[in-house]
């Protein structure tokens, strides 16, 4: 491995300085479960690694009146061991519980999963259907972007030089809301999704007032299937209506064929998983 220096800044300003100074010769370190593997695999050379876990905002879990704010470097186990997060953000929990085994979950963060921007990443679709906003800090101050705009290509994200992700902000829904995430893998644990879907919906007076569907491993980035989601809004969540959403999601999926699945297989999986995750979200809201 190319020798790099280690920095563990305690403030956002300090972290920004170091990241700016090193430019693309530096990377953030959250749980390290992607970045250390990649650095060792000599996918890139680093002169500095910036451990962001000592910055208080990066590991906090804060409930406000309107949002849950998750520090970008908070490890998965903190989320699924928190009963309130489990109750309010079931889609996020489905993802956090699926990423790697227990050892990986001790370290892996949602922020790392997102910034790593793998098309098959298990947390990104759940973040999308929970309407997450990314809080970003950088040399020019702070800014926010919707999570669906974060991934720009395989392994590429929207962060500019010197910028890093501070936290993930998810709205607390007033109505009957739930979500679900499911992936298809050939094994039971510890594998990469062949296709995966997250869905969320909100019900009021028996009708769907909002819906989001997001697809993983069927495009260069996780996909917010907006046109599919919209088909359910204002409608009753009947089998027939859900079927229309699933078929649209299948259309939107644009997978490649590789050793883990053909195009057709992946598209079929998207249809099935969309149906299943919407049904599961519905079951969870008690609709």
């Amino acid at each position: 491995m190319h020798p790099f220096n280690y920095y563990a800044p305690e403030t956002i300003e300090e972290a920004t300085e170091i990241l700016k100074k090193y430019g693309d010769r530096a990377k953030c370190l959250a749980g390290g479960t992607d970045v250390l593997v990649q650095a060792r695999g000599e996918k890139f050379e680093l002169d500095a690694i910036v451990d962001v876990k000592k910055i208080p905002q990066l590991t906090k879990l804060e409930w406000t009146d309107s949002h849950l704010i998750i520090g970008a470097a908070t490890p998965c186990h903190v989320l699924y061991e928190d009963p309130k997060v489990c109750e309010v953000f079931p889609g996020i929990i489905d993802s956090a519980f699926l990423i790697g085994g227990i050892q990986i979950q001790s370290r892996a963060s949602l922020g790392g999963n997102l910034c790593n921007a793998s098309p098959s990443a298990d947390a990104i679709c759940s973040l999308i259907v929970h309407e997450t906003t990314c809080e970003i800090a950088g040399p020019k101050g702070t800014r926010e972007i919707p999570v669906e705009d974060m991934c720009t290509g395989p392994g590429k994200n929207a962060l500019e030089s010197g910028e890093f992700l501070v936290s993930l902000k998810m709205p607390l829904k007033k109505g009957k809301f739930s979500a679900s995430y499911e992936r298809f893998i050939p094994r039971n644990e510890m594998d990469i999704a062949v296709a995966a879907v997250a869905s969320s919906l909100e019900l009021s007076n028996g009708k769907v007032s909002s819906c989001r569907v997001a697809l993983a491993a069927v495009g260069p980035t996780p996909i917010f299937a907006k046109e599919a989601s919209e088909l359910l809004v204002g409608k009753e969540p009947t089998d027939e209506n859900i079927k229309k959403v699933s078929e649209k999601a299948k259309d939107i999926a644009s997978p490649i064929a590789d050793m883990r699945g053909t195009v057709e297989h992946r598209k079929d999986l998207i249809e099935v998983l969309t149906r299943r995750t919407i049904s599961k979200a519905l079951e969870r809201v008690g609709g």
């Binding site: 020798p3 790099f4 220096n5 060792r40 227990i102 050892q103 644990e189 510890m190």
Partner: protein, 161 residues
Amino acid sequence: MAENKVKKVAVNTKINGEEMDILVDPYVSLLETLREVVGITGTKEGCNDGNCGACTVNLDGRIVDSCLVLGVEVEGKNIETVEGMATPDGLHPLQQAFLEEAALQCGICTPGFLVSAKALLDNEPDPSEERIRHWLAGNLCRCTGYDKIVKAVSKASKESK
């Protein structure tokens, strides 16, 4: 690109109850630090990329793959490795059960399984078989087969009650 100058970093940490000061290169893993700097070699390297769990250690009460932690990250932390399991009075019940159930062949995976299983039993004294299998999914064994390992963990949990 000019050569990147890196300096060794002084790290104060506690390993199996013993506080120590060590000097580590900032890019070196905790696994390598334990084996090459501290000189305790119970923790094994299998894959060096987070897949096999042979390098599992307990870091502040949670199991981690030490190949995916930097040595410099353990400043002020508490590390437990397989070397910390047996006491002068004898083997840990898990180690005893692994022997009795023949839950190892080549033994490369064993320290990782022991450290993982201990973390489970420390928090959940009587896990179901399903729970044990799920907990150990991050530990791979290429020779013994998982049934014997799961049986040994189950036996140790019953015996320590």
